[in-house]
């Protein structure tokens, strides 16, 4: 019994670690901020909604990463999907006396067409990526980078054309007032249900089916997978389609949530959040390693930390999001690397690059302190700068001493 328990713990230590980290973040936030204690229900719903929205396409990103590729296009696919969804609703709705479509009159039928159409476009985008990667032999980074810049731009030029064709008036974004779509986008449990269903389906796919095992094998060693009679081209097709279609689902929900199709801003930079959630959740960018559960927890952890910072900062919290994601990704991956390699015994601040890095870390921690604390900004920042500098210098001194000792024998 204890043996199987240890095996269980070892196998899931990444997920368990994340779970502990999430609970810790929530506990700390609850002690600092009143809102968690006063309105736990509201806060929980909000975090779950945001986690679900991110998680839906983070799962897609994770599958592509596990398969040994990378998908940089999710943000742009979200924008494109929103455009397609809005455009279909716009084009199919009845028009008023001035010829302007009344999207609010569209019923379930039109919405179903719009959703299916959008998902189909997602499938086409994913298939196109797979074709570029397998047949044209482009590196996944390049193929999906082209989509990242190209698709959003295409969506932006599509909207004026669509609005002019349908209503005669050119606009740069589409206002979509559709009752059921808004319900889907705004209700917290819809996003959660979609996310949970997807996670369950993908978990079964990845850990219980032959296809899933083959995806792990391909991500771990593509040449060996091919020589084991695995049709890697088909698996890549599936992986990129899951990546794009999950982003399309998110695009539909975001359209309902914000009530517009605005490709200029929607989903900007989201691809990196998705990759970050996957990486924090334990996926390795070299492929073959990662889990669905880990990715879901990674998304929850990211949102919990972002929310915690928002609660403590109050104003302009959105600006901190990128910074938080950046720090967390580096920390999560570094912790993973340190666990396996020679760990903390390695030389971090060796040579000139090491000295410069001490300066960078000092400066960075000082700047972050300066923008994050609310009172005594400058003096607090100086204290942090001085202590970080002292600590890292001590570390460097110890490393140099250890090195000398070794070479002197």
């Amino acid at each position: 019994m204890t043996a199987s328990l240890t095996a269980f713990l070892r196998q899931h230590r990444n997920e368990l670690g994340l779970l502990a980290a999430i609970l810790a973040v929530i506990a700390i936030t609850a002690t600092i901020d009143d809102s968690y204690r006063e309105k736990p229900g509201y806060n929980a719903k909000e975090i779950l909604r945001q986690t679900s929205m991110l998680g839906i396409f983070a799962l897609g990103a994770a599958i592509v990463i596990i398969s040994g590729g990378i998908d940089l296009s999710s943000g742009a696919v979200i924008a494109m999907s929103s455009t397609v969804c809005g455009s279909i609703l716009f084009a199919l709705s009845e028009t008023d006396a001035n010829g302007i479509p009344m999207t609010e009159t569209g019923g379930i039928g039109i919405l179903t067409v719009a959703i299916l159409g959008t998902l189909f476009v997602g499938f086409l985008i994913g298939s196109f990526h797979a074709w570029l990667v397998t047949a044209v032999n482009l590196p996944p980074f390049v193929a999906t980078l082209a989509s990242l810049v190209g698709l959003r731009s295409l969506a932006r030029v599509l909207i004026p054309e669509v609005t002019r064709e349908v209503s005669g008036i050119e606009t740069t974004k589409l206002y979509v007032y559709h009752e059921q779509l808004a319900f889907l986008g705004e209700t917290w449990w819809v996003a959660l249900a979609v996310f949970a269903t997807l996670a369950l389906a993908l978990w079964v796919l990845m850990s219980r089916t032959v296809i899933g095992r083959h995806i792990y094998a391909m991500g771990g060693n593509e040449a060996a997978a091919q020589l084991s009679g695995i049709r890697t081209d088909r698996l890549k097709w599936l992986a990129y389609c899951i990546g794009a279609v999950t982003a399309s689902i998110a695009g539909i929900l975001y359209t309902g949530y914000v009530g517009t199709s605005d490709p200029t801003t929607l989903g900007m930079g989201y691809e990196l959040n998705a990759i970050a959630a996957a990486v924090v959740g334990g996926c390795s960018l070299t492929g073959g390693i990662g889990t669905i559960l880990g990715t879901a927890l990674g998304a929850l952890f990211l949102r919990a930390v972002i929310d915690a910072v928002a609660k403590t900062i109050k104003s302009g919290a959105d600006d901190y999001e990128g910074m938080i994601v950046g720090v967390l990704v580096v920390l999560a991956v570094a912790l993973n690397a340190l666990r396996t390699d020679s760990g903390l015994a390695r030389q971090f601040f060796n040579g000139k690059l090491g000295s410069v890095s001490i300066g960078i870390l000092t400066l960075l921690s000082g700047t972050i302190t300066f923008v994050m604390v609310e009172t005594n900004k400058i003096s607090t920042a100086w204290i942090v700068v001085a202590s970080v500098l002292a600590l890292l210098s001590l570390r460097k001194y110890l490393e140099v001493a250890a090195m000398r000792k070794k070479s002197a024998l």
């Binding site: 083959h214 060996a224 020589l227």
Partner: protein, 507 residues
Amino acid sequence: MIAPETLISISHVSKRFGGVVAVNDLSFDIRAGELHSIVGENGAGKSTLMKILSGVLTEYEGQIRLRGREVLFSGTRDAEEAGVSIIHQELNLVEELTVAANIFLGREKRTGLGFIDDRAMEKESAQLFEQLQCQIAPTQLISELRIGDQQLVEIAKALSLHANILIMDEPTSALTESEVERLFKVIERLQSSGVTIVYISHKMDEVFHLSDRITVLRDGKLVKSLERDATTPREVTHLMVGRDIEEVERRTGGTTGDIVLEVKNLFLPWTGHAREWRLQDINFSLKRGEVLGIAGLMGAGRTELLECLFGASPTQPQGQIWLDGALQFFDTPATAMQQGVALVTEDRKRLGLFDHMSVRDNITICSLEQITNLGLVSKSREQAITAESIDALGVKCDGTEVGISSLSGGNQQKCVIARWLRTHPELLLLDDPTRGVDVGAKSEIYKLINGLCQDGMAIILTSSELPELIKLSDRVLVLCEGLLTGRLEGDAITEKAIMEAATQRNS
């Protein structure tokens, strides 16, 4: 007689990788100006010791003294400065750069303005080749050179570093006979100019032709250092193996059945290469229960031939492949696998193993479809068939769930073979299956091969070790630069006959 001066003194050197002791308390001396051969089976610790001597591995126990002074190289750069250079079995050259650029890689000559001075480097390279009495143009790209010439580039590089200790790791494994002769002349010239050479090999004729002294390693330990004149190849072989080699009986005329495979006019194009064809007009057939050996030097096309039969060649071959009387077109390994062909690849680490997966994953990856219920893989059945395979092939491992990378090379290879046996192939292609496998596992693999063909499987086998090929094969085909230059059967299969056919075009 003056006692020869000790140049390198190795004392109590040990090195372990995780739980595996690669080198165990080694002590011996290398004298100035001698050619010192280090021999031993795969896994005896030769390569690890050489990596320590040349600064590739910097962490080990024990001491190394160079000219009486203790040294601890911080890297290969450091070792080179002390005059120690190594030529690895797998050459370390940048194929896209020229010969001169490779010789001076990392210490490029510059003009007064700080730009790269190609002309000076080319001039100096030309002088080095003159010194070696070889004709290689410094402006040629490495990718245009034959392997033998590439090796000379490495030697020239070592010379330009003023190396007075040169370590050569199995330098002749990829060379033709004439290239080997040229290399031996170069080695003699180096020796006469005072370079000490540490020569790693397991080919007895070479070792006895060149060496002054021979050191035998086994299982990471020193067995003995011997004067060449005071020993015999037989004694050295015996010391290497540590016991009388268990002779696997050469199979004699087993009952062979119907024709399984027929290859007709097989050509494999080689785009952008002067030779045009990797394989040219290959014809042969294979019967049930037969072991067909494919011999040839490195680059002769052994691996390429097996890849053609498995749909794994980078370009499509021309010609016909008939399996069980039906014409086949293998566009991918998946198609070949469905038709009952299996390939155990030569490069296990790169093309065979799924490193971070378990023994179970590695064994069942090709046959998962057999154990699904409603599309889901049945874990209990998977574990059961894995246990069955482990048992059948005698894989030594701590359960089905341990990582494949924790196993020894021989056991990893058994897992890869088990993977393919689970697909019940009719035709089994084994590309150098005992490469990097210890002696014990080797003889088990021999027994396995004999058993499989007795059960009626058709097997094609390649090997870098001729005795192995001779022992196991019913017939041997010899390739030389993509051409079939020899067909040997029965008692006609001898090392001499194979080598003659394998070097036909070169010497």
